[in-house]
Amino acid sequence: MPYHEFKCSTCIPERKNHAVIKGPGEDLTMALPAGYLSTIPGTISERGCAYCGAKHVIGSPMKDVIHLSHGPVGCTYDTWQTKRYISDNDNFQLKYTFASDMKEKHVVFGAEKLLKSNIIEAFKAFPNIKRMTIYQTCASALIGDDLNAIAQEVMDEMPEVDIFVCNSPGFAGPSQSGGHHKINIAWINQKVGTIEPKITGDYVINYVGEYNIQGDQEVMCDFFKRMGIQVLSTFTGNGSYDDLRAMHKAQLNVLECARSAEYICNELRVRYGIPRLDIDGFGFEPLANSLRKVGLFFGIEDRAEAIIAEETARWKPELDWYKERLKGKKVCLWPGGSKLWHWAHVIHDEMGLDVVSVYTKFGHQGDMEKGISRCEEGALAIDDPNELEGLEAMEMLKPDIILTGKRPGEVAKKIRVPYLNAHAYHNGPWKGWEGWVRFARDIYNAIYSPIHKLTLLDIAADEIATDTTFETQVMLSDAALSEETRNAADLRQFTGQFDGLKSLRGKTYPEFEAKTAGAA
């Protein structure tokens, strides 16, 4: 596996260690991109900071919490509303963001008094919310404000409230991943074990590393509930602060995004003996295997099999409609961390896409090990690419679509490469069987949108045909298909709901006979 040097980065020779092409017959011991290192001076990284990784990615999806940043207002503003981690309590955590709004004078004279008054003011403004997280930022960390002391003062004065302090200023790691690590460890140290939950069933899990992007968590919890499993907490999407204080009482940690949340799973295993089961919630086969494994762990695999059979029968004809039309399309799989390995094999197997590149902005070498193992030969794996490298890769690989975040996504648009937002999604949820077809539909819509042909035309210079009418996606996608495939009666386009979450909220679930006398 040769390391790859970008032409645009020959002036930054260290960058050569960060890109590898997966060659035929080669394996992970021959080359692996460097990762989780401080960005090299001179390369303009597209990473987030450790504060962002703690607050925006992990902390803020908690739904019944005032999330307050102790620092300049820009820190909180820039980590607000750009990821769609919705919740079933009217999206409180998305609607509001809080900051102590430090100014220069506070850097000189200290901002602890300001912080305390802001905490109290926020609780008074939202009297129904009794939980708060406070995030350290670079400015408040550098002047040495003692957040823990202030939080404790407030909790002493207002015993009905509980406050979590996350000490992960922006400079506390090479990327947002440093913040993931810090908040994982801080949460288990400060909060886990401080509340005793009500156990309502025989089978109790924590669902870890799931952030409810456009409802993913609610889709997955629906499956677990249909199996009679109590989801004690979700770390952290649509998760409740107090539920997460009770993580120590689960029998199993079901881990989705190992990149952001394996730390707390590992610590729960060491401190409380709760095992960790890694799963893939995306794609028909990986999701089926995931539910099957959870079912096997509890001895209720028949319940999992019933769901798998029902969902597969319902959605497979629709997935296959898209697969016929996406076969051989080239994709650059450029998400943040875990999706590069959650998706690398299954979008090839189940949608027919060819992954020509995987990258991660902030992932570790472990993520690259998984991603490179799962993608096909010839793929270019890049760690922490800069914008020019991204452009050079797209010019070299000529992808039909890239799945990435909004920063590189907007760059791709400028060179007429369609992109889907892999972080916040376009039209999620993308988990579950229906979600996976919805994802295929979004990819199809992006690749075959007639707009891409139109944007390549220059109306001032090019000859514009006037004897042709409009084109549709189906006209474009079906042109090369056989008659048999085009008219296959057993295949159909997506027929799912626009908002499937409405039917999940308030849904009633089957009651299973309790295995133990103690269970309700």
Binding site: D27, L28, T29, A31, L32, A34, Y36, I185, Q251, L252, A258, E262, Y263, N266, E267, R269, V270, G273, I274, P275, R276, L277, D278, I279, D280, P286, N289, R292, K293, L296, F297, W341, H345, H364, Q365, G366, E369, K370, S373, R374
Partner: protein, 116 residues
Amino acid sequence: MDDLMKDRMDQLLDHIMKKCLWQFHSRSWDRKVQNEGVLSKATQLLCGEPVDTSTPLAKCHWVDALCLVNDYKRRFAWVSQLKPDEIKEIMQALHERLDHLTITGSLNLELNDQHY
């Protein structure tokens, strides 16, 4: 090991590397426990031997092993034709190769970090 067995071992290994996650825990000591736990139980299942599931960790390993064995039997018809000593030979070689790829030969610099 002859070429046929080597080729079959590569197929089993490729399946693990493409489809599984349990071999990629973040520290070398965890990877050793995972590889040993899952592959030893998978070998027992393939040989029809009893499997210990008495602890939560053992049960997790058994779950991953059972799914792996079922996939192997579904994808590779020759698996069900192997005799127990052939199964043990190929699974031993698979274990050594997987340890090499994910632990001893791995270029992942975080594997030996002392903390999670």
